[in-house]
């Protein structure tokens, strides 16, 4: 259970490094948006707040997931704090898991506060309770799951590649993952067999993130179907487990000279 202590410490680090200050920026933006939109787009406010709010949540979360995800392990190597951990009765796998869960917790706190902020903005804009105010929560949950996948990918890359390259790769994985349906289509229709094979391999290897983005539908009044919620959760858990297992395999073999 030592990964719990490591997770706690990782969470504490992000709090003390003022990562959660991004929430202040987010809330300010949302307040300004709610007020301004109320003036210029009468009747559309709720839709725009949900759309803009959840999109901003994705961007902010993505920045945290990529940059903090990359630093989870590399910072401990560079600052030589890893020497202290490895000399103690801690498995390298426990270390990776703890670091990962710590950042997941940071992302969760971040997501919850943002969703609360959006809900309050809606309450203000709609002038009372509305079903949209709870319907955005499953959508926010899916976005959090998506960020968890991105974090795991960033962690994996950082185990064998330089921070700059890892950031680039992770961003690419996110973008391609978001457009995975197009990738699938491309795989089916590409003319050369090599391209077809490559795009099919990528489609299966990279995370399928298209299903996690339900922002638009939510803004237009749809509810996330429970099948999608369950399916995506199962998918995220399996995908993250596989990626973390790969990260542990690489990390176990590494020398820190």
């Amino acid at each position: 259970m030592k990964f719990v202590h490591i997770a706690r410490n990782t969470f504490r680090e992000s709090v003390r490094d003022r990562v959660l200050y991004n929430l202040v920026v987010f809330v300010l933006l949302l307040v300004v948006a709610a007020v301004v939109i109320g003036r210029i787009a009468v009747g559309q406010e709720a839709k725009i707040i949900v759309d803009a709010g959840l999109s901003a949540m994705t961007v902010f979360g993505l920045l945290i997931a990529i940059f903090l995800g990359l630093g989870l392990v590399t910072k401990e190597i560079e600052k030589r704090t890893l020497a202290n951990i490895l000399s103690k009765p801690v498995r390298r796998a426990e270390f990776i898991l703890g670091k990962y869960l710590g950042l997941s917790l940071t992302l969760l706190v971040n997501a919850v506060v943002m969703a609360v902020a959006i809900t309050l903005a809606l309450l203000y804009a709609q002038g009372g309770a509305d079903s949209l105010q709870w319907r955005l929560w499953p959508t926010a949950f899916l976005l959090w799951l998506e960020l968890l996948i991105v974090t795991a990918v960033a962690l994996l890359f950082s185990c064998f590649s330089s921070p700059a390259l890892s950031a680039l790769f992770t961003l690419l994985v996110f973008l391609i993952g978001r457009w995975s349906l197009d990738l699938k289509l491309f795989a089916e229709t590409a003319s050369s067999p090599a391209t077809r094979w490559l795009s099919r391999a990528l489609y299966h290897l990279l995370p399928n993130l298209a299903n996690f983005n339900f922002i638009n539908q939510t803004a237009y009044g749809q509810v996330v179907p429970w099948q999608l919620l369950v399916g995506n959760t199962a998918y995220a858990v399996c995908y993250i487990a596989a990626v973390l297992a790969a990260a542990v395999l690489i990390f176990e073999r590494r020398d820190f000279k």
Binding site: R12, E13, R80, T81, V90, D255
Partner: protein, 313 residues
Amino acid sequence: MIPALAIENLTQDYTTGFWRKRSLRALDGLSLRVEAGEVFGFLGPNGAGKTTTFKILMRMQRPTAGTARILGCALDDLAMRARIGYLPEQPYFYDYLTAREFLLYCGVLCDLPKQAAAARTETLLAQVGLTEAAAQPLRKFSKGMLQRVGLAQALINDPEMLFLDEPMSGLDPLGRREVRDLIARLRQQGKTIFFSSHILTDVEAMCDRVAILHRGRLVESGKLSDILKARSNELEAVISGVNETALAALRGFALELQPTPQGARVRLRSDRDLARLVDITQQAAGRVVSLNPVRESLEDLFVREITGQVNDP
């Protein structure tokens, strides 16, 4: 009895250079044993391979060849890890934690229950003189204070064996004394201590045995007094309050004479010249301040070993 530390034929190569790969042998077939209850000094000039040895023992890197066992266990034995403590050469810790939080964290990572870790933290903070600074974040600590935190975290689990990579570095004279006393106390409690250093006086005062490493090879091991040969019967006298004529007279038979602000430092061939030195000094109304047998220094020893190696076929 199982040795506390058994290193067999440990070899570590580093490859350097990106385009033109070159291999550097930082450790070359190092073998040594440390018995339980010993204070063992691991000596060598800069770049000898001391830190490399510690890093292998602490699972930071795997050796190119060779094996090591601590307390009779393999290096990745977690139960063994809970019975040892380690002070890294450059103690960099989480700078966002306070000293107290950091020690607590180390405690729970070493399998201590929370209460025990908390109690142990307070004891150690007092022991290394950091009680007042305990609530400050480590980023505000000086190098010597960090070194003390490092020592405290190495002791958090009350380990049977301690690995200290240059425990004296960065400490003021008082701090060095405290560490020396601490090591003496730990030895009395029956702990085994394996530490590296290049400061001879510290080593002499504390060690049962030493090993001397040079360019990754073991060049000597054993009791320090046996290793450092007394250089024949030479004596060194420090005198004060003598005039130039006296110094001129001393130059007549001294092996070496270095004037100092108060008098001179005189090296004599043997105690047969001592009476003459005392006579001359007293006639000049001076004083003999100190008298010591000339012993080989650690530097001399390194020089001897290195040239000895060069002469080897």
